[in-house]
Structures are given as structure tokens and as C-alpha cells.
């Protein structure tokens, strides 16, 4: 396999973009990424997206977006793996360059979630779960995560308030990210008083519904040498994906993210790194419970100790395992199919020393993890600054 480098990045602010349509926000991320990489053409475009068909009535995003950004004619298609769509598109682009089929590939994650009313969006998000045996019973995606959180609190005897450290950290970091949706600080007190959505999950346990797009230009090693924008080269050193049952009720142990365990072990091995080498971890904190389960399945904390890591301050930018360094899904925002690309873009900024007030000191190895559904598809990437 050939080494794969990230040669350019582009993103839109995350939020409610009433004046821009799905194709426009894709454009707003892709064109800056192409300029950043100093390219005018690409061999292929892979679009990560989950809900365009359901929420915008538009499928066939590959051709649509390629044409709209001036790339008519190139190979292009949409890649879908629920909330893991963004990293799945990245993985597709990675395989194309690593396998020698293409030298320059654009990966874009794009999601438009605010054209519909809340209940329609809630119903659409539940498509990440088992439609016949989870969603059909009226169980929303938030409720599925609430079932996990309740059981976690019961098994490990952890009070709800302890999860607040994840939300406080995410909001604190979002303040330093000009593209974040919620750059406002919150306190443990406001966390405890937040509106209940599906107990024990409240509003501040949850990532928001929003619009956003992010894009990366991936290139081969030879190409990276020939162009280069003068910044520190960032290599995708590990890329792995694993799956689990779509439904939580079909898992042997609902509190263990097996696909995170498997994909992270593969990615560590491929990159030749151990968990102690990782300087920051952009994890999939769609809900605070997912942050805790991720820290545990990936080996950063023992079972039942993920929340403690947050309580002890280890997840802050100065901590042992900085997470959600630009706000995470919670506070940067979670435009579902775009999230996986935002994570890798933010990790790239960290490795290039461009994370501003949120810079993790001497960051040279970063890990990102994007989760589809309640843990059914989990994609792990390891990035190395050279």
C-alpha cells in the first residue's frame, strides 16, 4: 500500500445555514480545500452523507456535487454508514489512493438537517437503528442511547451529574473554534438543570441537529512532495473499520463497543503506535454516554472508568487524553454525515500547530473515531504529523 497524505482542508461553520442548500454547503467546504491543496482537478470525489434522501429529497450526491463544484466528469459517489458516513467516505478515498488507483481524491462530508421540522429529523435519525425492531416500536435514537446510559449508571453506580464533565469540556473547547455551533461555556450547574429529552439524557448530554460540510484532499506520497502548501505533512497512518449488530438488543454486552475495540486495535497495529503515543483523540461524543463507552472500548480507561477520566480532568487540552479538542460533536456540532470529516480536519489542524487557543502542545499523533448508529459501524483513523 502507498502512503496517503492530507494535502488540503476546507470547512463551513456548523449551525443553521438557512441561506445555503445542501449543494451550496458542499461547495463551501470543497472549494477552500482545493485551494488549500493547490489543485484544480481531482481523480475522484467521495461524498459522506447520511440523510439527504430523507431530509432534502435528494440522492445521487456524487454527480450532483461534482458538477456543482466544477468537477463534472470525474468519478464521484455518495458513501453512507449512518453517522459514520464521513469517515466511511474518507476510508473509501484512502483505499483508492493507498491502492494506487488514484493520486488525488477529494473527500467531503455534508449534511443538511434543518430544512425539516424536529420530529421528521428525529424519525430520520432513527434510520441508523434497526427500523423493524427498534425504531418501529417508537424508540428514538436518543432513547436508544438513554437505555445504554441508564444501564451504565446502574452497573457502575455512577450519578448522572458526573457525565457533565464531558459537556463542560466540549463547550469550553468550542469557544476556541470559530466554526463551532456552540462557542458558549456551560457549567456543571447548567448541565444538571438542562431540559430532559429521554431520561437520563438531557439537552446538554446531546449533540445538536445542524448543517455543515467539511472536505479533505488526499494525495499520494509523490504528489504530496510535488505540490505541498508548506505546512507540516500529515499522513494517514492507520485506517480501519469494524461492524457490530445494528440493534443494541442483539449485542452480547450492550455496554461494550466491540466495533471500536476491533477497529482501534487494527488501526494501532497498522500505524505501529500504542495507545500511550496518542496525543489527542477526536471521539464520537454524540451523547455523553458514547464518550464514556468509547474511552473504555479503545483502551483509554478501564470498564466503568470512562467518566472518571473526565472527572479527573484528563480529557482537557492539557490532560493525558485530550478529547473533543475543537468542541466535539457536542459543541462544534454533529451534522451527521459530515462529522467524520470534521474530526479528521480538526486533528490535522492540531498536528500542523494551527489549532489556535486549543492547540495541544507538541501534538504529533492523533486518533479520530466516527460511529455509525449506536455502535454498529465504527471507523478509526490514526494521523501522524511528519
Amino acid at each position: 500500500m502507498r502512503p496517503v497524505y492530507i494535502a488540503g482542508i476546507g470547512q463551513t461553520p456548523v449551525g443553521e445555514q438557512w441561506e445555503r442548500s445542501l449543494r451550496h454547503i458542499a461547495h463551501d467546504a470543497i472549494i477552500p480545500a482545493m485551494r488549500d491543496a493547490q489543485i484544480e482537478r481531482a481523480d475522484a470525489l467521495y461524498v459522506g452523507n447520511m440523510l439527504s434522501g430523507e431530509l432534502v429529497g435528494q440522492e445521487h450526491l456524487g454527480a450532483l456535487v461534482a458538477d456543482f463544484v466544477g468537477l463534472r466528469g470525474i468519478e464521484a459517489y455518495k458513501v453512507e454508514a449512518a453517522c459514520g458516513s464521513g469517515a466511511a467516505a474518507l476510508r473509501t478515498g484512502y483505499m483508492a489512493v493507498a491502492g494506487g488507483l488514484h493520486d488525488v481524491v477529494i473527500v467531503a462530508g455534508v449534511e443538511k438537517m434543518t430544512d425539516t421540522v424536529g420530529r421528521e429529523t428525529t424519525a430520520a435519525l432513527a434510520m441508523a437503528a434497526d427500523q423493524e425492531y427498534e425504531a418501529a416500536e417508537g424508540v428514538s435514537f436518543v432513547a436508544l442511547n438513554a437505555l445504554l446510559m441508564r444501564r451504565y449508571m446502574y452497573e457502575y453506580d455512577i450519578p448522572h451529574g458526573a457525565f457533565g464533565y464531558f459537556a463542560v469540556n466540549a463547550h469550553h473547547n468550542a469557544a476556541g473554534n470559530p466554526n463551532a455551533m456552540f462557542p458558549n461555556s456551560i457549567t456543571l450547574e447548567s448541565y444538571r438543570k438542562a431540559t430532559m429529552i429521554a431520561d437520563p439524557i438531557n439537552l446538554l448530554d446531546s449533540s445538536p441537529i445542524c448543517d455543515g460540510a467539511a472536505a479533505l484532499v488526499l494525495v499520494s506520497e509523490d504528489y504530496a512532495r510535488s505540490v505541498g502548501n508548506g505546512r507540516r505533512p500529515v499522513r494517514i497512518a492507520g485506517s480501519a473499520v469494524a461492524t457490530d449488530s445494528l440493534a443494541i438488543h442483539d449485542r452480547r454486552d450492550p455496554l461494550w463497543l466491540d466495533a471500536a475495540f476491533i477497529s482501534s486495535r487494527k488501526a494501532y497495529q497498522q500505524a505501529g503506535v500504542s495507545i500511550d503515543d496518542i496525543d489527542l483523540f477526536e471521539l464520537h461524543d454524540a451523547f455523553t454516554i458514547m464518550a464514556a463507552l468509547s474511552l473504555e472500548a479503545n483502551g483509554f480507561a478501564e470498564r466503568g472508568r470512562g467518566v472518571r477520566l473526565a472527572e479527573e480532568g484528563e480529557i482537557t487540552i492539557e490532560g493525558r487524553v485530550p478529547i473533543a479538542t475543537m468542541g466535539g460533536l457536542k459543541a462544534r456540532g454533529h451534522p451527521v454525515g459530515a462529522t467524520g470529516v470534521y474530526q479528521v480536519l480538526e486533528a490535522t489542524l492540531q498536528l500542523q500547530g494551527l489549532a489556535g487557543p486549543n492547540q495541544v502542545e507538541n501534538a504529533s499523533i492523533a486518533m479520530t473515531q466516527n460511529i455509525g448508529g449506536s455502535g454498529a459501524t465504527i471507523l478509526t483513523h490514526i494521523l501522524v504529523g511528519e
Binding site: 428525529t122 416500536e137 417508537g138 437505555l147 445504554l148 441508564r150 430532559m196 429521554a198 431520561d199
Partner: protein, 137 residues
């Protein structure tokens, strides 16, 4: 759910009909044709008793389309006595009375209505086990 899809899953929704694997003898619900425990074919029908305990629970305050009229309603992961876990609504109980480990049993209840022209969908829900309640009283 469409009419055809509701009809296709009638045995599951009305009678919790799953499967039992011929090779490893594990009970399976919902039916899936390949045993998740041993990966052998599993197509022998097997009706579950409908009794189990609450593994976890929550209340849906912000329901998806089609369930507005019922919110807020309690939902649970129910660990059935035969082994499989099922995701379902709870009924005949107030949300604040639900406890992890509580014995529950399956009943047939209206799940939702699909308007004047549409069908009324019935499915399994779970309530506290009546016999146990009577014994306790």
C-alpha cells in the same frame, strides 16, 4: 411501517415468534435465519414465553413522527427468560415506577394509527407481571 411490512412481521408482533437454533439450541428473537451465536442456519420457529425482566429503560418525551399522541411513553430493553433481548414500549405503568430488574410480560397493544386511510398497527408491549403483582399483594 407499510402495510406489507406490518403484515410480514405479524407473528413477531402478535406472538413473539422467533427461532431456535438446531445446532447450539439458543433461542433467537427477532428471527434472522442465521444464528448469531454459531452462524449456522436457524429457521425453526420458536415462540417465546413473553416473560422477562427490564434490562434498562427510559421515557420518550420527544417522539418520532407517528408517535406524538402517546408521548411521553416509557420504553425498555427487556431480557426475555429464554435469553434474547427485545426493545419495546412498556405499558400499564407510570414511567417513574419502572425499575431495572422488574419482571414484565408481553401484551398486545396499539402501537400507532396511520390516519383515516391507513392501518392501525398493533405490537408487543410489556407490562409488570400480573401474577407476581397478585402474589406480592
Amino acid at each position: 411501517m407499510s402495510v406489507a411490512r406490518t403484515w410480514r412481521t405479524r407473528k413477531q408482533r402478535y406472538a413473539l415468534v422467533g427461532e431456535r437454533c438446531d445446532y447450539c439450541q439458543n433461542a433467537i428473537f427477532p428471527p434472522r435465519d442465521v444464528c448469531p451465536h454459531c452462524a449456522e442456519p436457524a429457521q425453526k420457529e420458536f415462540a417465546l414465553s413473553g416473560r422477562g425482566t427490564v434490562y434498562s429503560y427510559t421515557t420518550v418525551f420527544d417522539p418520532p413522527t407517528g408517535f406524538d399522541a402517546f408521548a411521553p411513553y416509557p420504553v425498555a430493553l427487556v431480557k426475555l427468560d429464554e435469553g434474547p433481548m427485545v426493545t419495546a414500549q412498556l405499558t400499564d405503568i407510570m414511567p417513574d415506577q419502572v425499575k431495572i430488574g422488574m419482571p414484565v410480560e408481553m401484551v398486545t397493544r396499539k402501537l400507532n394509527e396511520q390516519g383515516d386511510e391507513g392501518i392501525i398497527v398493533y405490537s408487543y408491549k410489556f407490562r409488570p407481571q400480573l401474577q407476581r403483582q397478585a402474589l406480592a399483594a
